[in-house]
């Protein structure tokens, strides 16, 4: 009887231990990059960057993060943004050239958020990519820059 009791205890502990050792099922940055690259379809991966932002406090402007990229004329690029399902925020990206908003995956007039934006670049130079999360929510997202084709 006691032997059976201890056997049950030991088996339970091993089972619990095994569950504890399993890695958490959260979506990692690496998984997001791979997912985002697949979403880029037939474009060739160039670069990726990860953005993690905490939620904005009430009345506060939503936090954002910037990356600067050099883009080349006569090239079509694709910017794909993938937001982690483990956080409430949905990523919004904005592409600036010379402090002027050039493109965004979020269309204000319709409220639609596109998973990617293609840019047919005609001016070589630095471009600034700003990422924030809708409604200032906490979020984790990956942006993948891909090469689509020469124009």
């Amino acid at each position: 009887m006691m032997k059976r009791f201890y056997l049950i205890i030991i088996l339970s502990i091993f089972t619990l231990g095994f569950i504890n050792i399993q890695p958490a099922q959260a979506q990692t940055g690496e998984e997001l990059v791979n997912m985002c690259t697949k979403l880029s379809e037939d474009a060739t991966y160039l670069k990726d960057f990860t953005v993690k932002l905490s939620g904005a406090a009430p009345g506060e402007d939503p936090p954002s993060q910037k990356k600067s990229l050099m883009l080349r004329k006569n090239t079509q690029y694709r910017f794909t943004i993938c937001s982690s399902r483990d956080y409430p925020g949905r990523g919004v990206l904005k592409i600036y050239s010379s402090s002027k908003l050039l493109a965004s995956n979020y269309v204000e007039t319709t409220g639609k958020v596109f998973p990617s934006v293609d840019l047919k670049c005609q001016k070589t130079g630095p471009y600034h990519i700003w990422v924030e999360f809708e409604d200032g929510k906490e979020g984790l997202a990956v942006v993948v820059l891909s090469f689509v084709k020469k124009l």
Binding site: M2, Y6, I9, I10, I13, F14, L16, G17, F18, N20, I21, Q22, P23, T28, V33, T37, T44, Y45, L46, K47, D48, F49, K66, K67, S68, L69, M70, L71, R72, K73, N74, T75, I95, S97, L102, A103, N105, V107, F114, S116, V117, D118, L119, K120, C121, Q122, K123, T124, G125, P126, L145, F147, K149, K150
Partner: protein, 303 residues
């Protein structure tokens, strides 16, 4: 409770505590690798972490350069590429430069699907990456398998590009931004060199413009390099690049203004930029730029 029961209970509790204290980590990355003090301290120079984060990325873009060359229907030429012999490169300074150069060459090889030749470069890249303690980011076995079997070339390109990005990011985030800068510089000069060599045989107007607009990119690169100008090796490299920079200053780039056009094509948002950069460079100046870039690159390769 009997002594035997207590003993059994103790063993059970011991097993329990051992199990819950075990942590499995699938993210066995890099920080365990020892970096010699001389290298670690060398990277911590003038530029702040925040400034490095703001640095423009994608400066040496192997894929765009290779894609342009290939789009001109220029046949692949192995003789343009750097030799894969790495044994004479003993300092991390030279190794990082060469790693950048090989990154550009690998981009060219991948674009032309020259997987057999790419194998040699993968081997050399692995050696250099290991010497720089970033070998853990270079998935040599997978790349070798893909190249040998001539399979899934998209994956080959993706993994090799990704690995280079990871090496670069690791260096920047771990006080080794000097080596990251050298990789970028090496990749950039090799891209310019390849463009120049191709232009010598195929004077295409788009290639001409692509060479001329390196003026913009070199501007950013000089800022990166000058952060380390206190270092004598960097000072020498800066002098080399400054000769090129002074030539590029004579290139004229004008901007023709325009508003972007937005379309949705097959469910995808497409922005067409109508603002254009127009590059003007004389034949004589272009020849000088190409000659100088060949000299600078060859001096780096030949040390």
């Amino acid at each position: 409770m009997s002594k035997m029961s207590l003993k059994h209970l103790a063993y059970v509790l011991l097993a329990f505590f051992i199990l819950i204290s075990c942590k499995s980590s699938s993210d066995k990355k890099s920080d365990e690798f020892a970096v010699p003090d001389s290298v670690a301290n060398r990277g911590v120079l003038e530029i702040s972490d925040q400034a490095m984060k703001n640095v423009t990325q994608n400066i040496s873009s192997h894929i765009e350069t290779a894609a342009l060359i290939k789009s001109l229907n220029v046949p692949f030429t192995r003789e343009h590429l750097a030799s894969t012999s790495v044994d004479d490169y003993n300092t991390q300074f030279d190794q990082a430069l060469l790693l950048g150069i090989y990154g550009a060459d690998l981009g060219y090889l991948n674009m032309y699907s020259k997987t057999t030749v790419a194998l040699d470069y993968l081997t050399s890249i692995r050696k250099l990456a290991n010497s720089l303690n970033v070998g853990q980011f270079f998935d040599f076995n997978t790349l070798q398998r893909l190249a040998k079997n001539n399979e899934n070339l998209d994956s080959l390109m993706y993994i090799s590009q990704r690995n280079f990005n990871q090496m670069d990011r690791y260096l920047r985030e771990n006080n080794r931004s000097n080596l990251s800068t050298l990789m970028v510089a090496g990749g950039w000069i090799e891209g310019l060199y390849l463009s120049g060599k191709v232009f010598e045989n195929r004077p295409d107007p788009e290639l001409r413009e692509a060479i001329g607009e390196q003026k913009i990119i070199l501007g950013d690169l000089m800022i990166l390099l000058k952060n380390f100008e206190q270092d004598p090796d960097f000072a020498e490299l800066i002098e080399e690049f400054e000769r090129l920079n002074s030539l590029f200053k004579e290139v004229t780039i004008t901007i023709q203004k325009g508003e972007p056009k937005r379309q949705v094509i097959d469910g995808r948002l497409v922005i067409e930029q109508t603002e254009k950069s127009i590059v003007t460079v004389s034949d004589e100046l272009l020849d000088k730029i190409i000659s100088e870039s060949i000299e600078v690159r060859n001096r780096i390769i030949n040390q």
